[in-house]
Symmetry: C2
Subunit: 314 residues, 2 copies
């Protein structure tokens, strides 16, 4: 697998821009006062399907030649990637098969169904998810669209940072969270290609700190028993994703569960927008290390806004 070039990111943007929401960049006097920084928040919580994941999924789907798309696409996901692929397949007018654990929330199942995808339930184990997905692919001929470990996904996710960079001036820092590393690797590449003087910093939950440890060790160290409210960040970083991040990121900062919840609550209360816990992680980095970001221009990607309202942490 090759690292996406700038031309790949630009082509991805052209390919998907008709189908995605061009999300706004929000500022907040109140949060600038609290942090001392000039914060620019890229609001992917307003993206269609509720997260940035639509960018990568749409790019991956539309990268497949039309004559090879007809059998549709498949993935296993209990979260935002499943919704994103369901929507992307709808754009391409082909079937989507989303393998979801049988204990997935009804809200999420309903959302995926709402985009017209076929849901295949499996046991809630990693092994059964993979097996079930393989069976579906064998039976239907659908092509697998993985959630992050794929150059097409990385190039697609990079377009969020590209828009943020194009809509702001002289960012001193750009921050994202990291889970599998689709957004983190894509954003890292956007920084490297478009604004190399900007420092790229990653926030990661302390309770799922595989990328932090991998970054220190120089090789991927899988996550063990991740137990974090940031449900999008519970996976181990992909190999290609890690190679990109390792070369470009200035630092990875770990964030406790209390810090995630505090940062999330602050955004809800002061900005009056709903972000999911994963989105709060990079903002928590700024709250934690105010001295570094003081008087700096800081871009942060709010990854999504899919929150289970009946199960809030406050």
């Amino acid at each position: 697998m090759e690292i996406p070039a700038l031309s790949d990111i630009k082509r991805a943007h052209q390919r998907i821009e008709r189908f995605i929401q061009y999300t706004p960049v929000f500022t907040s006097d109140s949060l600038n006062t609290i942090t001392g920084a000039n914060l620019y928040f890229k609001c992917e919580n307003f993206q269609k399907t509720g997260s940035f994941k639509l960018r990568g999924a749409t790019n991956a789907v539309l990268s497949v030649r039309p004559e090879e798309r007809s059998a549709g696409f498949a993935t296993h996901s209990s979260g935002n990637h499943g919704q994103a692929l369901a929507y992307a397949a709808k754009i391409a007018e082909v079937p989507a098969y989303i393998v979801m654990p049988e204990n997935a929330s009804k809200v999420k199942i309903k959302a995926v169904e709402g985009y017209g995808a076929e849901i295949v339930l499996c046991k809630p184990t990693e092994a059964d998810r993979v097996n079930t997905c393989n069976e579906v692919i064998k039976k239907t001929g659908a092509a697998l669209i993985p959630p992050f470990h794929d150059p097409r996904i990385i190039a697609g996710q990079a377009t969020a940072a590209k828009e943020l960079i194009e809509d702001t001036e002289d960012l001193d820092y750009l921050l994202t969270p990291v889970g599998g590393g689709g957004l983190a690797a894509g954003s890292a590449l956007a920084v490297k290609y478009l604004t190399p003087s900007t420092k790229f910093i990653i926030g990661e939950p302390k309770n799922a700190d595989d990328t932090y440890r991998s970054f220190r060790e120089g090789k991927v160290i899988p996550v063990k028993n991740p137990d974090t409210i940031a449900d999008g960040l519970r996976v181990t970083v992909g190999q290609l994703n890690f190679e990109i991040i390792k070369d470009i990121a200035s630092d990875i900062v770990t964030i406790t569960e209390e810090e995630i919840m505090e940062a999330m609550k602050l955004v809800w209360e002061r900005m009056k927008i709903i972000i999911e816990p994963s989105s709060a992680v990079p903002f928590a980095v700024v709250l934690k290390q105010k001295n570094i970001f003081e008087q700096k221009n800081v871009g942060i990607i709010f990854t999504g806004g899919n929150v289970d309202m009946s199960n809030l942490p406050f």
Copy 2:
């Protein structure tokens, strides 16, 4: 007290526009699909101080000649008007005295303090609020800025609807909630002056339906024991406010507590923005009477986003 003319509303807008946030008009494919209408939401939840109330308070404060402002301004409020007047006085660089019941939430007290106002606590009864406020005025020479029953307040609140009308085309309907009627009367006038073919409809909690009953009877009937989650709408409509509403509104629709919460949750989940319960009331009217609004262009003012996160209804 005179009903504000179009020129009063225009002057109010010129007076306050440097100090307030020009709030965006949001649309939502998802809520358009659910309702069948084309919805345009004026997001006063993004207004400074978290609600539209800043418009009226700022207009009232800046309407007083500078040489007569120095003793400052006073009001009694446990809610958004208190924060708004505190902020408006800060704009004018004069003192603000906000009388608040001693059982007001710490979050609200902190917010008012944060704008530099002096808080005077009183017993949580209407009589003690009024008495304490009168004492403060006597002692300090501050001028009273009432929350809604005042032409300067009505003209200021009208600017939200004015912006919504100017930012959209051919609205078939414009909806607001009604509490004391500052926003409702101001919006009614904006419709009458700027887009008379638009129908103006009001939503009101069934559990605080004084304006609904007043509208039917043709005279103000005070609210009794209002018990609604829509905390901004628990007061009786003002006399001047009612006279304006009575002549212009096409209808007033009452909304149950369950309908308010359902509408609020839907906005949080689908639009990823935080609105307070009062904001959900006019949207609940559209959900309730879909047949009326189907395929129509419908403007709705989201009044504010000040919600106690530790006391959510879901």
